[in-house]
Structure formats: structure tokens, C-alpha cells
Amino acid sequence: MAEETAEKTPIEIVTESEHNKNFHGPELTGEIDTPAVEDGLIIKGVTDDVKPYPASESMQAELGFPETLVDNWEDVAVQRLGELLERYKSLQVYLDICVRCGTCTDKCQFYLGSNDPNNMPVARAELLRQVYKRYFTTEGKVFGKLAGARKLDLKLLGDWYAYFHQCSQCRRCSVFCPYGIDTAEISMAAREIMDSIGLGQKYVNSILGKLHEVGNNLGMNPKALKATLESTEEDLEEETGQKIRLPLDVEGAEVLLVTPSADFFAEPHVESLLGYAKVFHQAGISWTLSSTASEAGNFGMFIGSYTQMQKAASRIRRAIEELKPRRLIVGECGHAWRIAYSFWNTLIGPFDMLDPQYPAPQHICEYTLDLVGRGAIKLDKSANDEFTVTFHDSCNVARGAAMGDEPGGQFEIPRALIRASCNKYVEMDKDTIKEKTFCCGGGGGLLTDEIMQIRVQGAMPRMQALHTVMEEDGVNFMALICAICKAQFTKILPKYDVPMSVAGGVHQLVGRAIELGAKA
């Protein structure tokens, strides 16, 4: 036993994990209970072995990171933290000012679901703050452990690797923090430090590599993309009897649509793609997808690397320059919309070449609702009568971006669109929607099967709220505006014995309700 341990390399020790892909969710009761000590429910370290696979050496090299854990990782990590502190106001301020009041402790879905106290936002942030105190503050140098300072050793690095990959960067904790401390910023910094010492996460880094190389997360080359779109067009014609196009690389089209690549073939994502196509078709607007920018998603944000994020986003800029559209519209995707709405203008702007009378970029929900409002398209609500619909606010849209001109438009616009598409709409519990929404459990680069346990556990609060409306109101459709939410729920619903058909897109509803050929 001892010999076996001795042979392990540090990276093996740090990433050693248990994979429970068949993890089943608890029975749904509709109650979201906070784990409590007296019930024996707070269990320290209970998910410290739930860790994603580390990135391979080639994946790391492709992104310009060290291939595997470097020898002097402690020094490099500390230096990297020092650089980040000088670069990001958020990190510097947030590591300083937390008073550990405890308000955030019961707000994280991963804590509520896993019972592991290290998933309390403040405890998660402390994993990095301890190192900050030890190496960068007078307080930590004078008081040491008493102030919570701690040396960065292999044990702590292992905890970083576990718990910073059990945070979906959904920012729910930040809503309730008296100082707005954003754990997403902290977990992004921790992941960037881990990448810089050669400790990357396979799922995110491999996908980023594909995005840089091929242009989308799925690694689908332009030829394959064209073929997929053509066969989808055929299906669409068979279904509707109309020639509804899915144009690719059309120069001079009015609209460039950038959408997550999952929309091209994954279920139920593709249903939303059909919805967009029908909307453009019916409104009579020329539009195009781009093989250069065939991905709205941008996992650079998940690893906190602005360089990676800008590199990935620059593909969209290139597509605009190639195709010269007048408008830029983004499909249903949560983190992509945060990046598009909040970051694109800074990273790849200004968008002077686009028509200034439209917001750049614009969300597909903003666009479609505007058409509905102006009567440019007609929706027949009864087409969705078989559904009682509820809406899951995606975390990045709810707390990291906006829609429309008024604060909170990101809540009202998708809801208005859903209400215009169906007759029966129900809200979930008020503490689980809008800015208080729970993450689906798969965001922030967690959407990988080896950490299925934490994905199932993280989905628990949303599943409880969904269970309640399913029982009480007969809800059988949860509308989503995020590719990750869709992929996550398709996998997770069966783990809670809920049929996976309950998860679908907002434009899936729109696509079913739209009256084709009926000109206003």
C-alpha cells in the first residue's frame, strides 16, 4: 500500500478520483432542505474525490499551458496568483473583504445537493483566500493559521482541483453577498492558476482546443456542418412542406446568427434551431450561419483566461468581416450570451460595421419577441396545448447579462415569448427563479460524465422546484435558453425518474406555434 502511494506522481495524487457515472438523485419531495449538522448532514470532504479527468499533455500544449504539473508548481502558482491580483480588481477586492458572515453558506446548489461544506461559497473561496493570505498579506504572515493562512501543498491543490470544478460559476451566491463577492471570479482565477502550472481539466481544455482549431466545440468541420444543415433542411421541408432554409456562409445576408454548435444536431437543441429558421423564414429576413463562427459558446470564460476567451471570440469578428451582415444575433446559450452581451464589445468590438439601429449583439428572444409584437410573425398558442410550460432561468443570462432596455429584461422577454407561444404557463417557486435561479448543475465546464455525481447533486434544488410544479400544476415542459442546460437536463432528468422530454428550448415552442405562410 505504502509502495503504491510512493510511486504516484504528484499529478496523479492531485487528480485521484472516484467516478460514479450511475449516480442516482435522491427522491423528490419538492423541499429544498439545507444540510444541518444536528442531522449529520454536513459531511466534510464527502465530495472531495469527485474530480474531472485532467487534460492530456497535447490538450495542454495546444492552449499554450505546461503539459503536466510542473516541478516547481508551488512557486509558479503563487507567482500566477500575484499576477492575477494585479490584473483583476474583482479578485483583489474579493479576496480582501469577505467577513465570513455566512449569508452565502446556504445559497449554492452544490452545497445543498452534496452536503459538503467546502461547497459553501465562502468555504470554496477560502481555499484560494488561504493561499492569498499566506503569501500576499501581512495579516497572514503575522497570524498564520489563526487568520486562516495556509501553505499551498498537494493536499490543498487536490482540494482546489475538486472544489473549483464543483462550482458552475453561476453567481447565485453573489446576489446575497453584502459586498457582491462573486465566487465565479474566484473559481475562474483558481482554474487559470491550475492551468498555468499544468493542471488542466480535460473536458474544457479539449473543447477549447477544438474550438480554436475547427471553429466549434464539437469539432465539426465546415463540410460536415454543411451536410448536417442540408439534411436538416430536407427534414424541415418534409415536416412543413415549405422550403425553409438553413443558410451557411451567405455573404451580405441581413442577419448573422451565431449559435451553440449543439443546436446543429443534439436533441432537444436542434428543435430550437428549427424554431430560429422558421422565424427568419416567416419574417422574410435573409440570414446566415457561418462556418468560421459556428460556435457561440466560449469555454475560455470557464478557465478564467481572457486570452483564450478573446482568441475564441475573434472568430465571430472574422465572420462579420467575411460575411458583412447588418445584424448580429445570438442563439439560445447561457454563458455565450453573457460573453456576447457583456464582453464581445470589449473583446472584439466596436461593431461599427453593423447597422447601429439594432443592438449588437442581439439575443434571438429579443429579436423574435419584437417580430411577434409588430405582428410580423403570428403564433398559434394552441399548437402547444399538450404542454403545461415552466421556464428555467439560465444562470449566466439571469445574473451575468441582460436583454432589452430595462433591467430585468432577461426575465421578462423569454417569458413573454413563451406566453405568446402556449396557453398554459406556470412559474416555479419564487426563490428559484429570476435572479435567484439555481444553476442546472452542469454549467461552468462541469458538463462531463465523470463528475456525474456532482451534476446530479447540483441539479437537486431545480429538480425539487420542478417536481412541485409537475405535481401541482401538471407541468410537462421546462423551457430553456441554454445549450448546457438542455444537455444537462436531458441527462439528469432520468436520474430523478423524470422523463427527459420535459426539457426543451424556448424556440422549440416558438417553432411549433409559428403559423407558416400566414402573412400578417
Binding site: T9, P10, I11, T34, E38, I42, E57, P66, E67, V70, D71, N72, V76, Q79, G82, L85, E86, R87, Y88, K89, S90, Q92, V93, Y94, D96, I97, C98, V99, R100, C101, G102, T103, C104, T105, D106, M120, A123, E139, L146, R171, V175, F176, C177, P178, Y179, G180, D182, Y306, Y341, S342, F343, N345, T346, L347, R399, G400, A402, P407, G408, E435
Partner: protein
């Protein structure tokens, strides 16, 4: 000047320098560190006025905390309010003449000191009693609360213990503390609670800029709260802002070859 007054005065001047310079350096650090991307926590105001309103609600009412946890809000809010009143009442010791509003405050308000102390004790108990808060608390959290409790207790003792005796000492305290500000301190009043109270306050002030108490200035720099949500209308950037505190890059730590690489034969 007697020896004790000399020691107390010296301590005061050292501490007050640590406090202001330390806080100023922190302030400068927060001002000068760039915020490359817009990260307001939405729904966020679309105008500067809106951000002002949001910040006002956070600083004056602790709005987010109120939404997050009513018990912690209650303790924290009363504690801070108590601190504010107690501090204002102390103004009479700092200035030669007592500002009129302070006099009024002293007359109408006898109990804020006790309320302040009770709120601190309440927060201390809360830290121990909520299992989650207990888990995340570190020693220094208790240390700070303990220090504040000791300060409040000694302050109250100085004022109310042997009521008539201490009351009469207000001119003495004023002569000493007020004198410190004009570099002409009177002798340290020989009231024991006051002497301890003063030392404890000096300890607090010296620790202040290095502790979590910098949340008092940090909150104004919190990007999730102080940014305007207008990125589509107004370009934020340039995002590659240099930190003015960094004139030249530091010597980078050379990345040493990894374990895996080391085992491979080199063919160079």
C-alpha cells in the same frame, strides 16, 4: 508630560499613521487595479445614477444581506448603526468645542452603547450557533468580535461605572484626546476602564487596514455592484489596461520541467 502620557501619545501617533497610511495604500490598490471586463451582477442599473442608488441601498440598508439572511442582517445592521452613533458621540472628545448635534445626541441617546454591545454579542453567538457559520469562521473572526466587545465594555464602564466620578472626567478625556489632535495632549486620565479602552482602540486601528475590516472601503470597489450595465451601448475598455503600480514586469519564475517530461530521454 509624564511618562504614561508620553507612551500613550507615542502609541497614538504611531497607530494613527499605520491606520491612515495602511488604508490609503489599500485604497490606492483598489483604485489602480484594472477591471478589464464588465461584470455587473444583473439585473443591474443602466445609468450612473442607478448605480448610485444601488450602492446607497447596499451601504445604508445592507439590501443584499437582508435578502440573504434576516438574522445576520439584524445583528450586522444594528451593530453598524450602533457603531455609527457611538462614533458620533465620541466626536465631543476630538474637537475643542462640542458640535451642537453631538450634544443633542448625547442628551437623547443613553443606550446605543449597550445596543452596540448587545449586537456584537449576538453576532458572536450567531457565529457559534449557526453550524454553517461556525464551519467557515476562523480564529481572527472571533478575535475581532472579541476586541470590539472588549472596547464596547470598557467604554461603557468608563462612562457608567461610578457614574458621577467618570462623568466629571469628560473634560480630562477631552484634554487628552482632543489634545492629541493639536499635538498638545493633557495628562492621560487616570480612569482604569478608559486607559484599557484607549489601548484596545489603538489595537483595533492598527489591525484595521490589514484585516477584513477593509470591507468598509472595499465595498465601493466591488465590480459586481458598482458597474453600469451598458456594454452594448458603450464600449468598455480597452481591456488590456495596465496596472499603474506595475512599471516593469517582475522576473518570472522559470517553469521547471515537469515530472513526466523529466523521464523522457532528451535528444538535443
Amino acid at each position: 508630560m509624564d511618562g504614561l502620557t508620553f507612551v500613550y501619545s507615542l502609541l497614538f501617533y504611531i497607530v494613527i499613521n499605520i491606520f491612515f497610511i495602511g488604508l490609503l495604500l489599500k485604497f490606492w490598490k483598489y483604485v489602480s487595479t484594472p477591471a478589464p471586463l464588465k461584470i455587473p451582477q444583473t439585473p443591474a442599473p443602466k445609468t450612473a445614477t442607478g448605480v448610485g442608488v444601488r450602492m446607497f441601498q447596499e451601504v445604508v440598508f445592507f439590501k443584499s444581506l437582508f435578502r440573504g439572511n434576516r438574522l445576520i442582517w439584524l445583528g450586522g445592521y444594528i451593530m453598524h448603526l450602533g457603531l455609527l452613533f457611538v462614533f458620533m458621540k465620541h466626536l465631543r472628545f476630538f474637537f475643542p468645542g462640542t458640535p451642537a448635534f453631538v450634544d443633542t445626541l448625547v442628551d437623547i441617546d443613553l443606550y446605543t452603547g449597550f445596543i452596540f454591545l448587545s449586537a456584537l454579542i449576538f453576532l458572536f453567538i450567531l457565529r457559534l450557533a449557526i453550524d454553517r457559520t461556525f464551519y467557515v469562521s476562523v480564529f481572527n473572526d472571533y478575535l475581532l468580535l472579541g476586541l470590539l466587545i472588549a472596547i464596547a465594555t470598557t467604554g461603557l464602564l468608563a462612562r457608567f461605572w461610578d457614574y458621577s466620578g467618570t462623568r466629571a472626567m469628560i473634560p480630562d478625556i477631552k484634554a487628552f484626546v482632543g489634545g492629541l489632535f493639536t499635538f498638545n495632549p493633557g495628562p492621560v486620565p487616570s480612569n482604569k476602564p478608559f486607559m484599557v479602552h484607549f489601548i484596545l482602540v489603538m489595537m483595533l486601528l492598527a489591525y484595521f487596514p490589514f484585516s477584513k475590516l477593509v470591507h468598509s472601503i472595499g465595498i465601493f470597489f466591488s465590480p459586481t455592484r458598482n458597474q453600469i450595465d451598458n456594454t452594448r451601448k458603450k464600449r468598455w475598455g480597452p481591456w488590456t489596461v495596465k496596472n499603474p503600480r506595475r512599471s516593469k514586469p517582475k522576473e518570472p519564475v522559470a517553469v521547471q520541467p515537469s515530472f513526466a517530461v523529466k523521464e523522457e530521454p532528451s535528444d538535443s
